[in-house]
Amino acid sequence: MKKLLTGNHAIAEAVKIAKPDIIAAYPITPQTSIVEKLAEMVENSELDAEFVRVESEYTALSVILGAITAGARGFTATSSQGLLYMYEVCWWVAGSRLPMVMAIATRAVGAPWNIHGDHQDIIVLRDAGWIIGMVESAQEAFDMTLQAFKISEEVSLPFAVGLDGFQLTHTAEVVKIRDYELPKRKPLPYTIEPSSNFALNAVTFGIPKLKARHEQAKDLEKSKEVIRRVDKEFPVSYGGLTEEYRLDDAEYIVVMMGGWCGDAKDAIDVLRDKGIQIGMLRLRFLRPFPRKEVEKLDGKILVVDRSNSDYRGVLGLEVSTVKHDIKNVVTGFGGMELDTQDFVKIFTKFVNNEMKKDVEWWYDSA
C-alpha cells in the first residue's frame, strides 16, 4: 500500500506496525505531529498501546525507562531542547541495556531561539551509548523505524532515528507501507517483576563500572553486523551503515548525512555531467560510526556538516579520526536551506582545490 505521508506521519505508521506497549511524549516542534498521530491511532483503537500524556520530555523518557524495565516495548519522540531536557535519562536507558526507539526531529539548539532544522541536537547523543541513525527521506524514516525496533531488541541498546526538522518532518512524499512483521520478541537479558531477586543499577564502583561501559561499547560495535544484516534482509537495502552514491570511480568524495543529501546528490549529477568524477558516502549511522566504510574511501574527501563542536563540524571531527587531510564545510544551521545550486558551488570550489582552509563556515545560500 502506498500513502502520501510527511516524514513524521511515516514514522507514526511504522510505530503502529511495531505495536509498542507504551508511548509517552511531550510536544515540541517539529516532532509534535508524530505523537499527535499516534495519540489519534490509540484513541481510535487502531493501536493497542498506553499513551501517556506527560508534563515534560524528562518524564516522557523516564516513563519509557520504567516500562522497558518491566519488559514492555516503548517509543517516544522529541527534538532539540526536549532532547537536552531528557538527556540524563538517555544515559540511564542506554546504561540499563534496554531496547527502545526514539524519533528525533533534528532541530537547532538555543540560544538564540530557533525551531528550524540542523543537526546540533542529535549529535549530543554520541557518547551515551545509543544507536543513532539519520534518514534521507520519509520512506527511509518509515523503513529505519521498523528496523530500529528489531535491531534495538537484538542488541539491547536504544535506537534513535533522526530526521531533519521541517525538511523531512513536514514535507510529504509517497511512502510504501510495507507488510512487515517484527519477529516475536526474544526474552530480554532481564526484567524487573515482583519475583526478581536483584537490584538494578545500584552504586557500582571502579572495575565493574568499567566493565559495564566496555560491554556496552562492544555491543554497539557488534550492532554494525546486525544493522548490515537487517538492512540486507529488508525488502529494500540502503547499503547498511552507509549509502554509496556514484562512488565507484570517484576522485572527489563528499561525506554527509540527513535530508539534504538528496539536493547534494543532484549537485553531484550536475558535476558528473561536466565530467567531474565525484560521488557521495552518505552516513546512515553516526553511532556506531562506520569507520570501515570511511577507511575504504579512496579520493579527496569533503565533509559537509550541519553541526559543530569547537571550530569543526561534528562529522568532520568523526571522519578525521579515520582519514587525514579532509576538507570540512560547516553550514545549514537553524533552517538555512541549501539547494542544488548551493551544493554545486561548494563542490566546485572543493574540486577546483580553492578551499584553502581545512574548515570553512559557508554563508552563501539561495
Binding site: 501517556v52 508534563e55 518524564t59 518491566a70 514492555a72
Partner: protein, 278 residues
C-alpha cells in the same frame, strides 16, 4: 524482613525503621533515586533489600515507577510499585510528582522526609524545618517549609497520608490501606535524623514522637475526598520548646523565633481542622 542486617545505614537511621512498613505490601517493587536510601540499599554486587529494587536518576522516580507499573500491567503481572523518595528527591522532581498525581498514576509514593539533603551533607530542602541550621543555611533557614502531602491531596488523588517513624503501627496501617487501593497513593513519613539534626542516635523514635506530640508534625489522612486528622495527633500534647531545643540545628532559636514557629504550627493545625470539616 525487608532490610537485612549489616546494611550501611547510620546508627539510629529513621529510614531503616521506615523500610519495615514495606513488609505489609503485596508484591512490592521499590524504586529509588539518589539519596541515603541508595546507600542503605547496598553497593553492587550486594543488596540489603529482600525485594526487587530499581535505582533511577534523581528527578525521575515517580515517572519511572509509573512506566514500570504500566509495563507490568501489559504483561498481566500484579505488583505494588513504590516510589521511595527523600525530601531532596521531592524538590528536584516536583513537576514530575505533580504530573504523576494529576494523571492518577497507579503507584505508591512514600516520602521518607529527614528535613534536609542529608546524604550530601545536610543542606537545606523545601521541607527543612523553619529556621533550622543546615550547611547551606548556617544561620538558619529563611524560606518557608513546604507541605507536600497537602499539595498532593489537592490533586484529588485516591489516598494521601502523613506518618511518622515514631508511630509505626499508624504508618503500617496507612501503608496497608494504600496497598489495597489503586491509583496515585502518597504517604509522607517524618524521619528525624540523628546525624542531620544533631541528637543522640538512640533517640530517633523519641524525637519522632516529640514532633508529633507538639504538632510540629501532624498525622492525617485524605481518603474518599475527605480529610481526617489521625487520632494520635488529635490527642497530642507536647512541649514545642523542648522538641526544638533538643536538636543542634534549632538550638539557636530565640524565644521570639519559637513564638513565630508556634504560630505557624497553629495555622497549619487550623487549616487541617477546616479541611476536616468540609
Amino acid at each position: 524482613m525487608i532490610l537485612l542486617r549489616g546494611n550501611t545505614s547510620c546508627q539510629g537511621c529513621p529510614h531503616s525503621i521506615a523500610f519495615k512498613a514495606l513488609e505489609y505490601l503485596e508484591n512490592p517493587i521499590v524504586l529509588m533515586p539518589a539519596g541515603c536510601s541508595t546507600v542503605i540499599a547496598g553497593l553492587h554486587p550486594n543488596s540489603s533489600l529482600t525485594i526487587p529494587c530499581v535505582h533511577v536518576p534523581f528527578p525521575s522516580t515517580p515517572s519511572v515507577s509509573y512506566g514500570l507499573s504500566v509495563g507490568l500491567k501489559r504483561r498481566g503481572i500484579r505488583a505494588n510499585v513504590v516510589a521511595w523518595m527523600g525530601d531532596g528527591s521531592v524538590d528536584i522532581s516536583y513537576s514530575l510528582l505533580a504530573g504523576s498525581a494529576l494523571r492518577n498514576d497507579d503507584i505508591i509514593v512514600i516520602v521518607v522526609d529527614n528535613e534536609a539533603y542529608v546524604n550530601t551533607g545536610v543542606q537545606s530542602s523545601g521541607t527543612t524545618f523553619w529556621k533550622a541550621k543546615t550547611t547551606t543555611s548556617p544561620k538558619g533557614k529563611k524560606e518557608e517549609r513546604r507541605n507536600v502531602a497537602l499539595q498532593m491531596a489537592l490533586h484529588r488523588v485516591p489516598y494521601v497520608a502523613t506518618a511518622s517513624v515514631g508511630y509505626m503501627r499508624d504508618f503500617i496501617k496507612k501503608v496497608k490501606k494504600a496497598g489495597e487501593l489503586e491509583g496515585f497513593r502518597y504517604i509522607h513519613v517524618h524521619c528525624p535524623c540523628p546525624s542531620g539534626w544533631g541528637f543522640e542516635s538512640s533517640k530517633t523514635v523519641e524525637m519522632a514522637r516529640k514532633a508529633v506530640q507538639c504538632k510540629a508534625w501532624i498525622l492525617w489522612e485524605y481518603e474518599n475526598k475527605k480529610f481526617r486528622i489521625s487520632k494520635i495527633s488529635k490527642k497530642a500534647k507536647g512541649d514545642l520548646k523542648d522538641y526544638l531545643l533538643s536538636q543542634t540545628r534549632l538550638k539557636h532559636l530565640s524565644d521570639g523565633d519559637i513564638e513565630e514557629i508556634k504560630r505557624k504550627i497553629e495555622e497549619e493545625w487550623e487549616l487541617l481542622e477546616h479541611l476536616e470539616k468540609l
